[in-house]
């Protein structure tokens, strides 16, 4: 779905922010992109919908070279949810906001209405279609922004720190919505500093450091290599950190990511044998 080959990018008059990146993301993957402040995560995300274009190498979306395309075309393939919903909301009603993209595509009135209703239903905003987004809560405004990318029916969803500035419950609600869309076949790429969230949702993790890929592996393998993570100012979530304090953790606990997994392992062996060699 996304094919990045020897991608290099520098802002005008600047040092390269991304250097010689190559990777592929297949249709239907759920990928977390992590790394310290300034690692180049947002810069990389913006390559996927053509907001930024490579200065070297290529980025192909569904076979289309982003340099030969426009954000208007790419927005139908890649939806982008920014960190702050207020940076992308600008119309006086929720319905207009959600319908803005399809209207720009030249959809008919009926088609726009259909897409607005469908997208609003996906994020639970049907009761608010005639409200002004400004009077909604931050969590609801985030849903408006989310619905306006869904109305473009993109295959890929790119989310830049979707839970920052939200409380725990709002954050989980957004991620559960994303998870439901992933189950319907969407490709998801998200950026976050919250490693507990990564452990809970991502299947694959790409670790970025100073514009290069430090690791690209399953969530479990990434969080069981803490030495590599530390080089980019990150720490594994609490459960993998705890388990790795034991010398023979693999034998005793395996490689759990969640409270549930570790609890099941401990209680499964009767609470007697699991720390024997540590």
């Amino acid at each position: 779905m996304i094919k990045v080959e020897q991608l290099t990018f520098a802002y005008p008059n600047g040092m390269p922010v991304l250097e010689n990146l190559s990777f592929e993301i297949k249709s239907g993957e759920f990928v977390a992109l992590i790394g310290q402040n300034g690692a180049g995560k947002t810069t990389l995300l913006k390559q996927f919908n053509g907001l930024l274009k490579p200065t070297g190498g290529t980025v192909r979306i569904d076979g289309i070279d982003t340099r030969n395309s426009t954000t208007g075309i790419l927005a139908q393939k890649v939806g982008f949810l920014f960190q702050n919903p207020d940076h992308q909301i600008f119309l006086p009603t929720v319905a207009q906001e959600i319908g803005f993209g399809p209207a720009n595509l030249g959809c008919s009135r009926e088609e726009i209405d259909r897409r607005v209703r469908e997208a609003a239903a996906q994020v639970g905003l049907e009761p608010y279609l005639n409200e002004n987004p400004l009077f909604l809560s931050k969590g609801q405004r985030q849903r408006v922004a989310f619905a306006s990318l869904l109305s473009m029916r993109p295959q890929v969803m790119v989310l830049d720190e979707p839970t920052t500035g939200q409380d725990y419950r709002e954050g989980i609600e957004i991620m559960e919505m994303v998870k439901a869309l992933h189950r319907q076949g969407h490709t998801v790429i998200f950026v976050t500093h919250d490693m507990e969230l990564v452990a809970r949702y991502a299947e694959r993790v790409i670790v970025l450091s100073q514009g290069r890929i430090l690791m690209d592996d399953t969530c479990r393998r990434v969080f069981y290599q803490p030495d590599v993570l530390r080089r980019t100012n990150l720490f594994p979530p609490q459960i993998p950190t705890l388990v790795q304090k034991f010398d023979c953790y693999q034998e005793d606990f395996g490689t759990p990511l969640s409270v549930e997994e570790l609890y099941a392992t401990i209680t499964g062996c009767g609470g007697e044998e699991y720390v024997h060699c540590s």
Binding site: N37, D167, Y168, N233, Q238, K245, I266, V275
Partner: protein, 285 residues
């Protein structure tokens, strides 16, 4: 010990709003306490912080009831400049509060505004940088700092004014995990070594419970819990009732304890959980 902050029956409703942002809050803070505030969105956390540094009622319009006293003096009767000598503030976005082009100038800015003598300013800058542990950044340009460094510069600028109290509103929300830890390490040191009273609003509950001594949980404008972290992890419903969670390692041991596999204290940190898990051996035979 006399309280450094005393809040009595405090309520505030923003002009144009129908519902109070905070309602009937009564609480006192002793000198040298390190307090964390958490709660869901819209709980009133930021409003309470604005009542402590005097922005409410001095700059924000609305209906203000009750009292906030700093060192026994009501903030309503104090000048804002007077309040800012006692209460230093650090906000979410370091970009929004840094005004100068070098770290040194940034720290000097507040001191100059307070009319501090030039030779004293020099000493205060050196002292503030030392206290925060960022002497090496003194001559750096503020634009080239990392997020964690910027936020520590903002804290140094507040500390240089020698406040008795430091209030911080989600100071780590823009920071990566290491930057977050750096900020909390600095706060811990300021609290332990200099006895600074610290009140910090934070969503990252794992790190918050590791560092603070007392947690205020807010919901719907009210203070719904005021407990030390150890009690919080023993009563997870104090957080789960308002849509928040205790840290994963605390939850693990809580569940093992409830199921009879463990009988000791519940851990607040990963290190504590390691020792708890060792003791878990043979917990149920």
């Amino acid at each position: 010990m006399k309280p450094v902050i005393s809040i009595e029956q405090l309520s505030f409703t923003y002009a144009g709003s129908e519902h109070p942002a905070i309602s009937e809050i009564s609480v006192t803070v002793k000198p040298g306490e390190f307090i964390g505030i958490t709660g869901p969105a819209g709980a009133g956390k930021s409003t309470l912080i604005l009542c402590l540094n005097g922005i409410i009622p001095h700059f924000q319009h609305g209906e203000y009831r009750g009292r906030v006293r700093i060192d026994g003096v009501e903030t309503l009767t104090m000048h804002c400049a007077e309040i800012s000598r006692k209460v230093g503030s650090v906000f979410q976005d370091p970009e929004a509060q840094i005004v100068a082009s070098t770290v040194e100038d940034e720290i000097a800015f507040g001191l100059e505004n307070f009319g501090v003598e030039p030779d004293v300013i020099e000493a205060r800058i050196t002292d503030a940088l030392q206290r925060i542990g960022i002497e090496g950044l003194r001559h750096r340009s503020t634009t080239e700092l990392s997020g964690g460094q910027k936020q520590r510069v903002a804290i140094a600028a507040a500390v240089a004014l020698r406040p008795e109290i430091l209030v911080l509103d989600e100071p780590t929300s823009e920071l990566d995990p290491l930057g977050t830890k750096e900020v909390f390490e600095v706060l811990k040191q300021l609290n332990r070594e200099y006895g600074l009273t610290i009140i910090v609003v934070e969503q990252k509950i794992n790190i918050l419970l590791e560092y603070i001594e007392r947690l205020w949980v807010m919901n719907g404008g009210r203070l719904v819990a005021d407990e030390p972290p150890r009690r919080i992890v023993n009563q997870p419903e104090l957080l789960t009732d308002v849509g928040l969670q205790i840290p994963p390692v605390s939850e693990l041991m809580y569940r093992l304890k409830a199921a009879g596999y463990y009988s000791g204290e519940l851990p607040l940190t990963v290190d504590e959980a390691y020792w708890a898990l060792l003791k878990c051996r043979g917990g149920k035979r």
